[in-house]
């Protein structure tokens, strides 16, 4: 078990180094230069050269990459170009808001998605099933930023129930969390439905029913427990979708999180901040999927023994 965790964490290192490499390389190909943007178009050549040197941009790409990775190993993410604050501090300010939003969305996705999927699977082709499947198709097709705007129009402008944007109280969280959760609710309910349907066809479910086990017991003890593994895998992968969606949701609702920070960094050509933000997202994605892999062991003792 422990060796599995350690091995997986070690495996994450090259992946994260690769993520840094790709981000730095794409930014390196950037036609618009951060330095020119900072100094304005009328800056003298000397000033541009001096700032480039100060930021270390005059060095070749390979040197800069190795230097960045070296500093990263010491926990130093560099200083943001725009605010001239440590990137670590800027990220530390922003990530709790994103964590809050993503956790709320993931909980909604898991609760609503699993519940709807189970009901659909237990009564397939019922009215509920048809409505839920249609709704999930729409949920998958709605652009997330548009869902957010529609929710704002209905619940904030017309009904005046919830705030338009910003953060602070629980009421601020409701609309962004629902917006972010909707596509995942759709995915999870579809997955749950087909996965529970598959399990209900298994021999051991028939055996359990044949020996007179109550339907609820069959569902809870046999069906759900076995259906949960693909659902958990999906939830882990959905966390990546949630992070991407967070960028859009935070922009729509002026939510002060990592996603908004990242969009700001892109517009300001603040590549140091952008690198840091992408790194945090990728790290979170890797950790979440590691947790998902570990939880298989809890659900399925056979997997647990192999770890």
């Amino acid at each position: 078990m422990l060796t599995f965790v350690v091995r997986r964490l070690l495996f994450a290192v090259p992946v994260l180094l690769g993520v840094v490499f790709v981000v730095m390389l794409t930014i390196d190909l950037l036609p618009g230069d951060a330095v020119t943007l900072m100094l304005g178009e009328h800056a003298t050549k000397d000033a541009v050269a001096a700032l480039r040197e100060h930021l270390g941009l005059d060095k070749p790409f390979a040197v800069r990459y190795l230097e960045y990775v070296g500093r990263l190993a010491r926990g130093d993410l560099g200083r943001s170009i725009q605010q001239n604050r440590p990137v670590a501090a800027e990220l530390a300010d922003a990530w709790p808001a994103t964590l809050q939003l993503a956790t709320a969305a993931l909980l909604i996705a898991a609760a609503v998605g699993v519940a709807a999927g189970v009901v659909s699977a237990v009564w397939p082709n019922s009215v509920f099933d048809a409505v839920a499947r249609l709704a999930s198709l729409f949920g998958l097709s709605m652009p997330i930023f548009w869902t957010g705007l529609v929710l704002i129009v209905v619940f904030s402008l017309w009904l005046n129930w919830l705030p338009v944007g910003g953060a602070g109280s629980l009421s601020h969280l409701v609309l962004p969390a629902i917006t972010l959760a909707l596509p995942s609710v759709a995915m999870v309910s579809r997955m749950t439905r087909s996965s529970v349907l598959d399990v209900l066809r298994e021999d051991y479910v028939r055996t359990a029913r044949a020996k007179g086990v109550g339907e609820w017991w069959v569902l809870g003890k046999h069906a759900l427990r076995n259906a949960f593994i693909p659902i958990l895998t999906l939830l882990g992968l959905q966390s990546g979708q949630l992070m991407g969606g967070a960028v859009l949701t935070e922009t729509v609702f002026a939510w002060p999180g990592l996603g908004r920070l990242m969009v700001k960094a892109i517009f300001a050509r603040d590549y140091v901040l952008l690198q840091g933000a992408v790194l945090v997202f990728a790290l979170a994605f890797v950790i979440i999927n590691l947790l998902v892999d570990l939880s298989y062991g809890l659900l399925d003792p056979r997997v647990g023994r192999q770890l």
Binding site: P143, L149, R193, M243
Partner: protein, 267 residues
């Protein structure tokens, strides 16, 4: 029963196909459907409510041509790139396979949207760059699918027989492996169109995609946001268009999957 017959029996999939056709037609016929030039401005009537004169409200109709074009072109980039890399990895094996698959894993470790954001940040905004970004974003997933199929097919008896008979690798690829990859890939390509439209809309919404005065649905939602209070339809109608387009491709993709591979059915 042929795949096409199975597809036709799926009413939702047919509805999706009809929607796709309507979208494509409205894109091609845009100049006649919407006689008002999208670039022409009318200050008095701006933000007029949907009505007889303006079918969906002032400003914006028939602009889906760009969103669809971005989707189709980026799909082509993703398919060509993924097919080449996936076949290379699956067929050659060894260190080429190892290196390519590690690279794919790294690209897939980027949460959705972030890779496209990074690419657009590097290339700069604009319709062409958005297309390239969305296309590159799709390459790793296609590569993995193709490599997986090639690996399985490489071990089949008919491929072994063809090689034993002395067929060159290129002929084996073309005659025995490609035809078997195409059905699965068609399904993926259709579902990819749905995602590509969503991604283009998202990038344009953030201001990193298509730039004004060129119109795109995502951009229209974004500009509509500023007048959300006085004229909510400016932001909501183009969003509805995005949703219909994505829904149409999702329905067709699901239908194709059920029709082409009955074993996957049931979902």
């Amino acid at each position: 029963m042929t795949a096409w017959r199975r597809f036709c029996r799926n009413r939702l999939a047919l509805l999706g196909l009809a929607l796709v056709v309507v979208l494509a037609l409205s894109a091609v016929l845009a100049p006649w459907l919407a006689p008002l030039d999208p670039a022409r401005q009318s200050l008095i009537e701006k933000r007029a409510r949907p009505g007889a004169k303006y079918l969906l409200g002032a400003d914006e109709f028939g602009r889906d041509i760009l969103s669809l074009l971005v989707g189709v072109l980026s799909m082509a980039i993703a398919l060509v790139g993924g097919l080449l890399l996936g076949t290379l990895a699956g067929f050659s094996g060894g260190w080429i396979d190892a290196v390519l698959m590690r690279a794919v894993e790294i690209l897939l470790a980027f949460p959705y949207l972030l890779l496209a954001l990074a690419i657009v940040a590097a290339l700069g905004p604009g319709a062409l760059n958005t297309t390239i970004a969305v296309g590159i974003w799709g390459v790793p997933a296609v590569t993995r699918i193709v490599r997986g199929s090639v690996l399985t097919l490489r071990e089949t008896e008919y491929v072994g027989a063809a090689r034993a008979l002395g067929s060159p690798a290129a002929a084996v690829l073309r005659r025995h492996i490609m035809p078997n990859i195409v059905p699965g890939l068609t399904v993926y390509a259709t579902l990819f169109m749905a995602n590509a439209i969503l991604l283009e809309a998202a990038l344009s919404f953030l201001g990193l995609g298509v730039q004004p005065p060129t119109a795109s649905w995502g951009l229209m939602v974004s500009t509509g946001r500023d007048v959300l209070l006085v004229a909510p339809h400016v932001a909501t109608v183009p969003g509805l268009a995005i949703m219909l387009a994505v829904l149409a491709f999702n329905l067709v993709g699901d239908g194709l999957r059920d029709a082409l591979d009955p074993r996957l059915r049931g979902g």
